[in-house]
Symmetry: C2
């Protein structure tokens, strides 16, 4: 038996009394419906491709604007079956597995007899964990010998998988159908459609965003490595999503318990809470004694991809002594986690021995946990990082399960002072080299980055990454654009995140108000997510992403027409908007003076048509008459709220 494993098992803390596998239930806050919303599914080319969206209904426009219908808007929905009243949720059973038929029909995987990692087997055998363990009724899958099961591999063979079709439908946001519905919305339909369908062309700095995403486009982006679909064959519950510069900017939320805080139930709750508010992916950064069991519960109940940092668990297995880490322990951990279904691994393979001294002149040294663990190991052994030297061995594991690389930024700057320094950029270059190795194996790969970077240095990061990593998707933490606001780092970093997303970053890792200070609670998780949804969406708008502006247009139209409920319901957080509005109930709208300039112009146009005069002349004449009419009609400026 493995001595460190034994030690780890014996050191297991008593099971937290709060969690019991037999009675675990879903968090009611996570399944509460959104107002005026319902879950809808877009069907693909086969009935088992069902892409979820949230449909938000609107009231008609009334009064002086004419009685036009406001068709429902469809928004991207990460919340999975939790917000589908038709879905029966039992977290003890996990979610259904829409991908299972697709995986089976590819016939390139086999079901193993059980976990093939030593640690996985040991955990399964341990009776003390029975009350904690998710009751999994199947064994792990793995690629058949000699087969490669990554989405990139299929893409490079010219195959369009159901996953690729799924994400193509998802990315289009039902844009065409929505715009068509606007044309049919009433007497002013065509005008409204052209108004609400229009958006600024944007400035994408050379991205290649198509008007309509096709499955073929998805395949081609995957084949060239410019996008990834993180979808482990052992996570069949996932609703596929795509990460890439030419797709909607995505966000990631971090959860995870520590040695003494937070039970398994709380972590599942954080995941369902995070995806409710819009997290596209979730990373489980748990440390402590039940990492394995916690992760199983999360993955089985998660419709979004789950990422981990395997070195964290490996470190637990050696009781926190970095120098006792070894390739063997790490390898076993990769397999253990891959067989549970982790969709992407953060691996700090670019943190090389020679780079450690480069941090000597830094203000805040190495702030990445994974980076400092590996730095310590390198110094203790005076050897090159085993993650670097065994990188191709890691690729062999990744491709057998389709786990994506998230090549870690162990040397990211932890202060404005350290931004874009030699250490950071040296590691980025190495990540570029490793990307080529990963692609030799068709392993899907994204690159981690920023940290703390002042606004003017952000573009350099993006440009270097595009060039050195051959356009592999960039996945950044923030960056924080100043260090001076602990307690508000969701905001200091939201600024940097929106900016780097605009420049081409594909996924933004959120930061909560607790950054640098402590562990986030549910309110912090929500604040971080809403901030990052804002950043990602601001980036989509700036890039001119087709359809991104539909939501802004619909909400602003509702605002202009005083359809308050529609305004709230179309927003990222209807509850808060409604609560803030009810709170002060101003009798007089001091913020928005309603001015009927549109109405005036409609009347001017009608006048022109009726009198056979040009619009300009009509305008001049119409202004005069309108002026008179305005005053006579009481010249009411403010619409009573």
């Amino acid at each position: 038996m493995n001595a460190p494993l034994d030690a780890a098992l014996k050191a297991a803390l008593p099971i937290p009394s709060a969690f019991d596998a037999a009675t675990a239930t879903v968090d009611s806050a996570a399944i509460a419906p959104f107002p005026n919303s319902r879950k809808v599914y877009i069907e693909g080319s086969r009935p088992d491709i069902r892409v979820p969206m949230r449909e938000i209904a609107q009231s008609p426009t009334t009064g002086s604007f004419g009685g036009e219908r406001n068709p429902p808007l469809f928004v991207y929905d990460t919340s999975g079956p939790y917000t589908d009243p038709a879905a029966a949720i039992d977290v003890r059973c996990g979610l259904t597995s829409p991908r299972l038929p697709w995986i089976r029909e590819r016939a390139d995987t086999e079901e193993l007899a059980g976990p093939s990692s030593a640690y996985g087997q040991a955990r399964l055998r341990d009776p003390a964990l029975a009350a904690l363990r998710f009751n999994l009724q199947r064994t792990p899958r793995r690629a058949r010998p000699g087969r490669n099961v990554t989405q990139m591999h299929y893409a490079r063979q010219g195959i369009i998988t159901p996953e690729m079709e799924f994400v193509a439908l998802r990315e289009n946001l039902r844009r065409r159908e929505y715009l068509a519905s606007l044309s049919e919305s009433g007497p002013m339909g065509a005008r409204v459609a052209s108004l609400l369908g229009r958006q600024h062309p944007g400035q994408s700095f050379g991205a290649s965003i198509p008007l309509e995403v096709t499955p073929e486009f998805v395949r081609s982006e995957l084949a060239r490595g410019r996008a990834i679909i993180p979808a482990n064959i052992n996570h069949p519950e996932v609703e596929p999503m795509i990460i890439g510069r030419n797709f909607l900017v995505k966000i990631n939320a971090n959860i995870g318990n520590s040695a003494v805080s937070s039970s398994i139930g709380e972590e599942v709750e954080k995941m369902t809470w995070a995806i409710r508010w819009g997290a596209d992916n979730v990373m489980d950064l748990s440390t402590g004694k039940h990492i394995h069991e916690t992760r199983e519960w999360i993955i089985r109940n998660s419709p979004v991809p789950i990422g981990t940092v395997p070195i964290y668990q490996a470190l637990e297995k050696v009781n926190g002594k970095a120098e006792d880490l070894s390739w063997e322990i790490y390898r076993d951990t990769l397999i253990e986690q891959a067989e549970q279904g982790v969709d992407y691994f953060t691996i700090h393979a670019g943190m090389r021995l020679a780079y450690v001294p480069m941090t000597a002149n830094r203000l805040t040294g190495i702030v990445s946990r994974g980076g400092s663990i590996m730095a310590k190991w390198c110094l203790a052994h005076h050897r090159e990082s085993f993650l670097y030297t065994h990188f191709e061995d890691i690729c062999e594991i990744m491709k057998a399960y389709d786990v994506s690389f998230s090549l870690g930024d162990g040397l990211r700057p932890g202060s404005i002072y350290d931004a874009n320094d030699e250490a950071q950029l040296a590691e980025l270059k190495t990540l570029g080299e490793l990307t080529q190795v990963a692609w030799k194996h068709d392993v899907q790969t994204m690159i981690e980055g920023p940290g703390h970077v002042p606004l003017h240095l952000i573009k350099e990061n993006m440009d270097l990454q595009l060039e050195q990593c051959s356009e592999a998707p960039f996945y950044t933490l923030g960056p924080l654009t100043t260090d001076i606001a602990p307690g508000y780092d969701h905001i200091t970093s939201g600024i940097g995140a929106a900016t780097i997303g605009w420049y081409g970053t594909a996924m933004l890792c959120y930061v909560t108000p607790k950054e640098h200070l402590g562990l986030p609670d549910k309110a912090d998780v929500k604040d971080g997510i809403i901030t990052y949804k804002i950043a990602a969406h601001a980036a989509d708008l700036a890039k001119g992403h087709p359809g991104a502006q539909m939501r802004d247009n619909a909400l602003s139209k509702a605002r202009f027409e005083f359809r308050w409920d529609d305004q709230f319901n179309l927003g990222l957080d209807p509850d808060k908007a409604r609560a803030f509005h009810d709170e002060t109930l101003p009798k007089e709208s001091s913020k928005v003076a309603h001015f009927c300039s549109m109405k005036i112009t409609q009347e001017v146009r009608a006048y022109a048509a009726a009198n056979g005069v040009g619009e300009d002349a009509a305008l001049a004449q119409g202004m005069q008459e309108k002026a008179i009419e305005f005053v006579k009609g009481g010249a009411r400026l403010y619409r009573e709220a």
Copy 2:
């Protein structure tokens, strides 16, 4: 007598019972000291020039870093005497008037017998207002006949006023003295000084920010109109500040009561609260029945410049009927407010009749209250705006009191859809023309702008404004970079504000979480201010503003050395940071892994010196030995928090 005035007076609501002039007191929350901080004053070339700063003390660095002293940091301080325990605060008496001697010695003003506006006189006479009225023991000043008393006028005559010297000292942040103190901080003094004094050069897009601000530089910026010092001769209590692209980016907070909500006392409280957290200026946007009295209390107790939108009060005087406005009523209002000491007026003189129809194709019409009032007047009378036609008459008033223009953006976009449209840009062009007229009269002028603008269209706004308004300071609301997050518009706009500040905007008007929804409470005001301090500071860093990075460096050094209290105290909100940290008391610092790379390099350097080998060789050798030492010494990676 003036009929509308009579009507206004008769319509006066009963005095809100909460406020009584005789017993008004200062808000205790506003005078609570900041932790480890004290108010200090930098003395200028004469003893009555005393520039306030806040000095934040730090603990020494202990342990393996060596015993170095961390000198106190000095930060810009907008909170006035409120945070000075030596100052006796009685809001019934107002603040002291440091500017009074400077105004007197210029001998170009005279004290009037009393208010010269009809409305001002009427309010003073009305016995019903006695219990509300601030007990002002002096009469208004005005320029002597034929004299021009603006800071721009003095600057153009080659005069350096005490106000100019004051702001020069203020802008330097005591940078030179602080850096010198770092050199003296202990055995590693020189290295620490070079570390903490260093900052990224930034990218200011052609700004001209000097390393050291001199009074002469201030004079020259004022003379060319590239900066303003808003300081009405009737606001001698103000601690002068400067607004301009080549100075620190400033922020403005809005306060103001409405007809039924919020008493005078609450407004004074909001002002003291706003400046505590860092508002450089405050605008009083009150509507309702006691605008005049409310404003007097605010100005008498405000160490920061106060702005207003005079058309709001003029509208109240005509009972809310825009078409009843007239130049005469407006003129009287300008004089009334100027004689109370308002430092800048938002005047929508660029909202011309011909531009109104340009809003016909907008999604959200005219969202500016002042803009829509004037649009309504123009349409009702079918005449050009009286603000535009009487602009030079307005200049004559401004120059007699040194009130600065804030040329209003009545046609700013209220939705992403409307950004950078024809109406908005037409008004901007007119504001540029009006700037030239104002400068003919040496009236200090800034230009208002943005609103809702997607990230990629922000630069165009800045470039157009610089060109068309001849580099007059830009003062923008946000911009909001997306419409989809009501309840979080401090964040949607914080992103745009940081960006436009980086590009050259001189002052950012804050947005609170209540934007579009309701009136902000104290918590909202604070959230808005902290967000905008972050945006302004992120902009300063990106521009490479000398000294801006000192605070980030000091805080990050404290963070790296686990000097938790110093980290909190150096931040924008020490209370929140401390509360967030105590809340979860993680036993293991999962966020920052402390890695002694600096220490290693110091030892390597010492080794090299002692053994006469080059640093590289020493490094290689040192790594080997260090590795051994590391493991022997228990290889402790994590510092216990």
